[in-house]
């Protein structure tokens, strides 16, 4: 029983690589590893950026027919409708011009008064306009993709607003575009403040396009219709930007918390032109406690700037 080549099996007739079950176990464990590494450790952003170089052209190609159909629809849009819109925009422009003139004067006055009060100069917000290209097809989250990316200087973490208020935050930056997680996403948290009372809270997406104020005691002073603005406590979002209006307050919540649902002020899921603001530096709790606390405890912040 000595084979010519000891310890070697005869070659198989058909080469098919490893057995299917072996391949299944290998690939499933590879996928599970990827899932865990991506979800828990966030190591894969670079890989994702690299692969996006390949998928972005595919996405552009896939978007072309959709864009074509859409622009054809716009082409046939009613002329009267466009004229109406033009007239309305012109009117708004005039109104805004007067407000801007007054604003300049107010800014100067504000600066003088602030200097008198020895307050920290408010950071000049620098903003960049971007266009929402499409909503991400992932059914489990609420994100959109905008047409500005790494090459345009978009940073991850930048707050994104439209003309009415906050719509989300840049969470992933690709070379040519960026992904914005909307505030209605379940995982997106936002430090906010009730404009009327100054109560601070954290806002989360509630699913179905609504927002939820969590962790507020059952006896909190809050009514329907109250305006919610950013508190700026995180240092990333500028304070005083409108976020939402309270829709319902349910005080029979379980566990001593009140369930507050809010409607976003901005057109969060209506995709149009947006502004990307420069993110502030996140506040480090240690240094904030040691040094002078930033903007958080100023009564001036309670009244949102109109």
């Amino acid at each position: 029983m000595v084979s010519p080549v000891a310890g070697h099996q005869p070659p198989p007739f058909f080469r098919r690589g490893p057995a299917p079950l072996v391949r299944l176990v290998l690939l499933v464990s590879a996928s599970l590893t990827l899932i865990v590494v991506d979800h828990r450790l966030h190591y894969l952003e670079l890989v994702r950026q690299g692969l996006s170089v390949m998928t972005t052209p595919l996405q552009v190609a896939a978007g072309m027919p959709v864009k074509g159909v859409r622009s054809a629809g716009e082409y046939f849009a009613d002329l009267a409708h466009l004229q109406d819109e033009n007239a309305r925009l012109r009117r708004e422009q005039t109104e805004l011009a007067t407000i801007r003139l007054r604003q300049e004067q107010l800014d100067q006055e504000n600066a003088r008064l602030r200097a008198l009060l020895d307050m920290r100069e408010r950071v000049q917000i620098d903003a960049r306009v971007a266009e929402v290209i499409y909503a991400v097809r992932d059914p489990f989250s609420r994100r959109v993709v905008i047409d500005k990316g790494l090459t345009h200087g978009v940073e991850p973490g930048s707050p994104v607003t439209d003309d009415l208020g906050i719509i989300g935050q840049v969470t992933r930056v690709y070379p040519l575009n960026a992904e914005v997680t909307l505030i209605s996403d379940k995982d997106q948290a936002l430090p906010v403040q009730v404009a009327r009372t100054g109560v601070r809270a954290v806002m989360f997406g509630a699913g179905s396009g609504l927002l939820e104020l969590r962790y507020l005691a059952a006896d909190v002073d809050l009514r329907e219709g109250d305006r919610i603005v950013t508190s700026g406590l995180d240092g990333v979002f500028p304070p005083g930007l409108p976020v939402a209006a309270v829709k319902s307050v349910d005080r029979d919540g379980v566990g001593g918390f009140v369930r507050i649902l809010c409607v976003p002020v901005a057109g969060v899921e209506a995709h149009s032109t947006v502004l990307i603001l420069k993110p502030g530096k996140p506040v480090d709790p240690d240094t904030a406690a040691a040094g002078t606390a930033p903007a958080a405890d100023k009564p001036a912040d309670k009244a949102p700037k109109k």
Binding site: P20, S31, I35
Partner: protein, 174 residues
């Protein structure tokens, strides 16, 4: 298998690997179309992948499924590995049951395909729910149902390049 179905008398040409690649690429492109939050749309790539795994289990298998899954994960911006896992399991089931499925007619084939597609979607749902995502509602499973209905028409379309003009020969056994 070289016939459109077991009861057919026609013999198909061998499949061109380029056509397989082309059809998968087309399915990927349709999947990547920016159609917004329409979750009831079928996953075309899963359907075409499943078709080729059933039809040509020696050419298309779990490796292809894994690679395409990664591309989908990047394109959709979903959790890395989510589509890869679902597609690998789908490809495993499809290649394993390939002999059995091809024995049936179109309707019964669809009945085999339905649990596989629903299973793939359920895998993705479970992965994302474990990762704290939002449940998109039962409409999410409509995609698998529509894809099942599309199994027969898409199958005919994908087999078209392999048909050859019918030659009448009364003496040929099949």
């Amino acid at each position: 298998m070289n016939q459109p179905s077991f009861s057919s008398r026609r013999i198909l040409r061998p499949v061109s690997p380029w056509f397989i690649a082309f059809s998968l690429l087309c399915a990927l492109l349709v999947n990547l179309m920016p159609l917004g939050r329409a979750f009831w749309l079928p996953d075309w790539l899963a359907l075409v992948l499943c078709f080729w795994c059933v039809r040509e289990p020696l050419r298309v298998g779990m490796g292809t499924a894994f690679a395409l899954g990664i591309v989908m994960d990047v394109g959709y911006g979903s959790l890395m590995g989510q589509h890869a896992l679902a597609y690998v399991l789908l490809a495993y089931a499809a290649t394993t049951f390939s002999r059995r499925i091809l024995w049936f007619g179109p309707l019964r084939q669809s009945l085999h395909v339905l649990p596989m597609l629903v299973g793939a979607q359920t895998v993705m749902l479970l992965v994302r729910l474990v990762a704290d995502a939002e449940f998109p509602g039962l409409i999410y499973f409509a995609g698998a149902l529509i894809a099942t209905l599309l199994w027969y028409p898409v199958g005919i379309l994908l087999l078209l390049p392999q048909y050859r003009p019918e030659e009448k020969d009364e003496n040929r056994p099949i």
